[in-house]
Amino acid sequence: MGIAFPIPDDAILARRDQIIAGLSSLVPPSSLVTTEDERRAFETDALTAYRKMPLAAVLPTTTEEVAAVLRFCHENGVKVVPRGAGTSLAGGAIPQEDAIVLGVGKMAKVLDINFGDRTMRVQAGITNLAISNEVADKRFFYAPDPSSQLACTIAGNIAMNSGGAHCLRYGVTTNNILGVRMVLIDGTIVDIGSDAMDAAGLDLLGLVIGSEGQLGVVTEAVVRILPMAEGARPVLFGFASSEAAGAAVAAIIGAGIIPVAMEFMDKPAIDICEAFAHAGYPTDCEALLIIEVEGSDGEMDAMLARIVAIAKEHGVKTVKESKSAMETALIWKGRKSAFGATGRIADYICMDGTIPTGQLPYVLRRIDEIVKSYGLRVANVFHAGDGNLHPLVLYNCNDPVEAANAEEAGNDILKLCVEVGGCLTGEHGVGIEKRDLMRKQFNEIDLAQQMRVRAAFDPLWLLNPAKVFPLDGRVSA
């Protein structure tokens, strides 16, 4: 496969026993993973085509242990790959042979909830869904909802600035975090932000969120919790073409309506998800929009009436409203299982580019052409309101030619996204997957500026070093 890893440092590999001995003096035995069998659990993430066995995995239970481990690694020149739940689709948590994995999964407690201030302090290893579950009985929730929310951690969400299906209304991770406790590579513990609505000085919080584990290791976070709407109702809109669905999306926004979610699926994706979830998706349509509205019954009825009227102007074929909580759950189960359901029928590469929504029809047509030119198939699911695409390029991983073609097709799609004014990644992150495409979006000056900022935190490039920035041309402070 095509993505390069740095050549491991022999001097570090030769010192493995010594490094493990050093680490074992810093954390309890249950926090240190050294046997080959157990380390295997950490050799990849959700980009499973790539695997590298780390020196060891360390799973601290306190911020102070994280600080001790980082200080030790800094003093000994050992690279560190931070890890949440290992659900990165971009390879953000894939280790390298001369690095340790530093996992925050054992730090998963809720530390404080303040409903009046609408904030919650959590340890960073808590899962995204556990945060919402913790406050659900009071009818609050944590807004960003990546499809992996059952497993993914807030630490990983912060590293990748994760999104989800509802960010059209509620924003992404960076809009929903007020503060973090973070350990720098030299072991210094810093508090960035707090439970106040903004922080003094430069916006370090905004910089840290989405920095893919390259600036420090986050061990605690203060998140915003929001009151749930009185009700929420997803509605299925089936269209005869992707163009018609895309035009309807633009018209809805143009009419001043911001639904909480507008999700798009094309015919292959509809079929795959319906076969898996039996959510009642219309399988006689070429394109499906799941549009969710919120509010009281009266408000939802009024809002839906406006949306239906617009959809009709754009030739909608079927409109199907959820009539019960169970149907709502099924509709979202189908959408959120799109990747998993696709995995049942083929191997796939999941792309994550964002495009200006006005380019939707053109880009969908080009994606189809690109994928066909490699002799492959594609299923499209995406967040229509914000232009964040997830083309799933289907292939057979046991066929090396198909696998290479799938990667090439994916790269072509991402270049297309940049060409039309969009970007390489909307919510999954760069990781290793898009690292070598960064020069398509940024010139050398842009990249050098980013790398100098990165080096201000980690001058030796020890934190998650093989990610985000092309391996050649690296810049230090």
Binding site: G116, N175, G206, M228, I253, G295, G421, D446
Partner: protein, 393 residues
């Protein structure tokens, strides 16, 4: 080449020369906030006002781009014509300093200036999705773009937002925007003290009724204290939510209603701190603190300082006016904020006090060291607004 690109090239050349000569530069848009922050000493003036004009507006994509020197009012007019608005509701702070000029969109971004809707729609930095800027070496750098979901590379957009010209000179900014609501009304409660007002605002903001702004005018600025909750949206929905809010907040007494036009004037005044604008000679603080901690904090400092104030952001923002005497209360205010997670910025004070007092909350040593290293990565010669945010920035 368009005039603005030419201007940007010229600007770049000027910065390159200043970098070579190590000439400090005082950077501004329309200079409406010149009174905020440390005075930049011995500097050549750089204005972005030559870079003006809207460069992109796609209503259906909810995005607008403008050169940094474009007047805020021009951006707002263009959006309003399409039934849209900037989500974070910036205002004009010039009148606080007696400045007649109008803020630029670049100045709003560089100071992360946000108004009442910030409590629910996020700050300026939350809507800022793309920037182009010239760093301290004269290089033109871009970050972010025109799409609202973008995690490609480090988020320098956030870092530049609110950096007060210390990291780069913004040349173009891109914002995501929102539809302008069909109507807005304000729900009012009367006679509440700070504690009760914050309880009412928290109850409202924690309800499903989509309150878009929450402020409190205590007895020092309003004869009978008034707590304000704004509802925005389609007419029928606003009417419904108004009634539900009335039920929810019964225990805080009878409610009144301020209709669309008057409501809009009122919130503009709150965003522009009009009730505390005069007398001009007083000092004005902007204090960020979690709402639940505000009553105790206010009680502590009111006992020792002259105090006129108002609360915005559901109590999470305290605008505090006090006499411009001695340190304008800096030591007392900051001592009472210690350990709370809150911080205070001295927005307005006479020159002698500005010289003597840290304008922005001083950072811990570790965070100051990081910020200085970041500054050096953008501006190695330290020529961009040196000392505006802190001695090392």
């Amino acid at each position: 080449m368009s005039a603005s690109l030419f201007a940007e090239d010229e600007l770049s050349a000027t910065i390159r020369k200043a970098f070579a000569d190590k000439t400090p530069l005082a950077i501004h848009g329309a200079n409406t906030k010149a009174g905020i922050g440390g005075v930049v000493k011995n500097a050549a003036e750089i204005s972005t006002q030559g870079l003006s004009g809207i460069t992109l507006h796609e209503p259906a994509e909810m995005v607008i781009s403008a050169l940094a020197g474009t007047p805020l009012a021009e951006v707002e007019r263009r959006l309003a014509a399409q039934g849209q608005m900037l989500p974070f509701e910036p205002g004009q702070w010039g009148p606080l300093f007696g400045a007649a000029s109008e803020a630029t969109i670049g100045g709003i971004a560089a100071t992360n200036q946000s108004g009442p809707r910030r409590v629910t729609a996020g700050a300026c930095r939350d809507s800022l999705i793309g920037v182009r800027f010239i760093n301290g070496k004269g290089e033109s750098v871009k970050s972010g773009g025109r799409v609202m979901k973008n995690v490609t590379g480090l988020d320098l957009v956030k870092l530049l937002g609110g950096s007060w010209g210390t990291l780069g000179i913004l040349t173009e900014v891109t914002f995501k925007v929102l539809p302008r609501p069909e109507t807005a009304v304000t729900f009012t409660l009367h006679g509440l003290d700070d504690q009760r007002a914050i309880e009412a605002m928290s109850a409202a903001l924690g309800s499903p009724f989509d309150v878009s702004a929450a402020a409190h005018l205590p007895s020092s600025v309003e004869r009978v204290p008034m707590t304000l909750l704004r509802l925005e949206g389609f007419h029928a929905s606003v009417a419904y939510r108004f009634d539900r809010l009335k039920d929810l907040l019964k225990r805080f007494g009878p409610a009144n209603r301020i209709e669309a036009e008057a409501s809009s004037v009122l919130w503009k005044q709150i965003g522009e701190v009009t009730p505390l604008s005069e007398p001009r000679g007083t000092a004005l603080w902007k204090i960020s603190l979690a709402p639940s901690k505000a009553p105790h904090f206010l009680a502590s400092i009111k006992a020792q300082l002259s105090a006129r104030y108002l609360l915005d952001w559901g109590g999470g923002l305290i605008w505090f006016q006090t006499d411009a005497k001695s340190d304008a209360g800096a030591a007392l205010i900051r001592a009472n904020l210690a350990g709370t997670g809150g911080h205070a910025t001295l927005i307005r004070a006479p020159g002698a006090i500005r010289d003597a007092v840290a304008i922005f909350e001083p950072a811990s040593d570790a965070l100051m060291k990081l910020q200085a290293a970041i500054k050096a990565s953008f501006d190695p010669a330290g020529i961009l607004n040196p000392g505006r945010m802190a001695p090392l920035l």
